[in-house]
């Protein structure tokens, strides 16, 4: 027993001893996405070029990461030197002075090569506060074999009414094929990402010019009617549990006729190692309704430096390496052009090798180029963001409203009841936050 106690005590003491280290250690917080993991594996390339800098990776699930880095940056905890953050956080955090401006990325960084929509999403007053690692919009992926068998041809951009008709034709649950797969899981980054773009397409907006919520408008009713109709009647059973990954599994197993989701899904559904329908997938833009403005979202995962970091210079070196053109070539040389992080640099979409390796490149570029976080609604709006409003209150609002819309999809309440509940809860939040 004495020996056990001794060992335990030694272990405890050992835990408290800090290790002295001469080199600069950068702690990088990141999400567990394929592109990020690939970057982690290519660490040696960076450290061989920068022997005085070592990298410590902290990989976390998206929601945990968001909670963790928000706590750290808000309290100036200084635990991370580089953070992976979304386009929602960048303008809010930059405005609060929580992010260090990226003003020393090196002369060969070529900041003008960044896609204008993405660059504007990670800038505040023209200053870059985070560098985009990969970007995405939304588009429709569909089964070419099922379309052909049903005699359906796509001529120009689809409308939601046409999408509904196609879903009806393709929906054969007895044969294990559902007309359309869409996000149904409640959450501001789940069903709300899609429904907000649908709302934009139907002429709706989240807030009017005076920050009043507009869920009581006819446009929102039309959008939500369409969503509950198309997914409730021609979607897979239990759609309220489906987010990106669940729909990806369904599509890859050949169970979805159409799927509207993130453009990054294209590389997964065309990968024969992951998808049973890899050679039967077509791509087209997300459907419009009364307008095409804001009908597809814009998102990017970006690398930023918290203001509390003592290693800004080394962190900028790392960010410059990870988001450079040279990094894209490095990934291509190791893993092939189809695996380079997409959606951030215009030069990638002019590279014939990439265009040949990625059959979805044109549609991805079209989708990202057409998404404008400032002009994303038919009528004027006071907020920045296509599928979100870049205000601190939106996370809570999006989650609550997403739950009400999910309940409408499940048939627990009517569309009118869900919109009325969304209107009153959002109104309460905005009033409390002092917007009016």
């Amino acid at each position: 027993m004495k020996r056990v106690m001794g060992v335990a005590l030694c272990a405890l003491l050992a835990g408290g001893v800090a290790h002295a280290n001469a080199e600069t250690k950068l702690t990088i917080a990141t999400v567990n996405n394929g592109d990020m993991i690939r970057m982690q594996k290519l660490t040696d390339d960076f450290t061989s070029k920068n022997p005085d800098i070592s990298l410590e990776w902290v990989t976390l699930e998206e929601n945990t990461l968001r909670q963790r880095v928000t706590t750290d940056i808000a309290t100036k905890g200084g635990q991370y030197d580089v953070m992976t953050i979304g386009t929602y956080e960048v303008p809010i955090w930059a405005e609060k002075g929580w992010l260090a401006p990226l003003d020393n990325l090196g002369s060969d960084y070529d900041v003008d090569d960044l896609m204008p929509a993405i660059r504007s999403a990670v800038s505040n007053d023209g200053q870059l506060y985070a560098a985009p690692f990969y970007g995405e919009s939304s588009m429709m992926m569909y089964r070419t074999d099922l379309f052909e068998a049903a005699g359906i041809e796509i001529n120009g951009r689809l409308t939601w009414d046409q999408t509904l008709e196609i879903a009806k034709k393709l929906h054969k649950p007895d044969e294990g094929v559902y007309g359309i797969c869409l996000r149904g899981k409640a959450g501001w980054g789940e069903n709300m990402a899609l429904i907000t773009t649908m709302g934009n397409a139907f002429g709706a907006r989240l807030f009017d010019e005076n920050w009043n919520p507009t869920f009581d408008s006819a446009e929102w009713k039309n959008a939500l009617d369409m969503y509950t109709n198309v997914l409730g009647n021609y979607g897979p059973p239990g759609a309220t549990s489906n987010g990106f990954n669940e729909n990806l599994s369904l599509f890859n197993s050949g169970k979805c006729g159409m799927w509207i989701d993130a453009t990054v899904a294209a590389s997964f559904v065309t990968n024969p190692k992951e998808s049973k329908v890899a050679d039967k997938v077509g791509f087209t833009e997300a459907p419009c309704a009364v307008t095409c403005t804001g009908a597809n979202w814009l998102w990017a995962w970006n690398l930023g430096i918290p203001m509390g970091s003592q290693k800004v210079e080394a962190a900028q070196k790392f960010i410059s390496w990870a988001t450079s053109k040279a990094y894209l070539e490095l990934v291509a040389s190791k893993e092939g052009w189809a695996n380079v992080p997409p959606g951030t640099r215009m030069s990638l979409y002019q590279n014939p090798k990439y265009l040949e390796a990625a059959p979805f490149a044109d549609e991805t570029l079209l989708a990202i180029d057409s998404a404008d976080p400032i002009n994303s609604t038919l009528e004027p709006k006071p907020y920045v963001g296509v599928q979100f409003a870049a205000i601190p209150e939106f996370q809570g609002i999006g989650t609550t409203v997403g739950q009400q819309f999910s309940a409408a999809l499940a048939g627990q309440m009517s569309v009118e009841e869900a919109l009325s509940a969304a209107q009153s809860s959002t109104d309460r939040t905005m009033r409390k936050a002092g917007y009016y």
């Binding site: 272990a11 405890l12 702690t27 567990n32 996405n33 998206e62 706590t71 309290t75 197993s253």
Partner: protein, 276 residues
Amino acid sequence: MESKQTPLGYVSFSVFAWIVGLLIFFPIFWMVLTSFKTELEAVSIPPSFISFDWTLENYAEVQQRSNYFKFAMNSVILAVGSTLVGLVFAVTCAWAMAFNPTKRTKDALLWMLSTKMMPPVGVLVPIYLVFRDWGLLDTRFGLIMVLFLMNLPIMVWMLYTYFKEIPTDILEAARMDGATLPKEIIFVLLPMAVPGIASTMLLNIILAWNEAFWTLNLTTSDAAPLTAFIASYSSPEGLFWAKLSAASTLAVAPILVIGWFSQKQLVRGLTFGAVK
């Protein structure tokens, strides 16, 4: 009057117990099974049961990406460390409450337990600020303190229940024989409460091992335990079930083995004093 169990009742009770046992065990079994599948097979519908191509690629990937032993060692240090520190405080506290109660002892016990009812996220920012100012973020010492304080009410309650079963006369006899207070606790009380202490320790180790809120929020890399290791394998975009299952299997393996070997002590301790 003694009720006699019929053979039919015995059989149906056994079948029911087996069904409940298998239902509880099934998620763990499925997790282990999934860890040997490819990502595509892990999400295929209908799921394949045994007839799939067994692979170790997920374990290889996990080993390549993460330093498992660093995370596991942190888990061991945090779980054992917080339990040992907690035991020192809980034994003395439970002794005072069991053998020298006051009018307010019951209230104090209930108050201690009530602290467990507060959602941890409610005190996240104050504790984070204290940790930041005292330089305790991402240190094992800081985590041991939090885990020990978090589990202290349960330890005190459990030990108090066990100590109440021990006749006061024995302690009084020891005192009459000249035993000092430390001797009374170490040589008389503790040997008699070994089953209770063992089960309290085991339960506390399991609670500390599984704790995910504080261990995720107060660590980054140096003190990160297996909960952080598992959290790094969940992905918002892309298939990850098989790799996550492999990581989870590796994370629960040590505690499963400890639980398996000590189940006799655990059951004995947990049922100690249950039948009077």
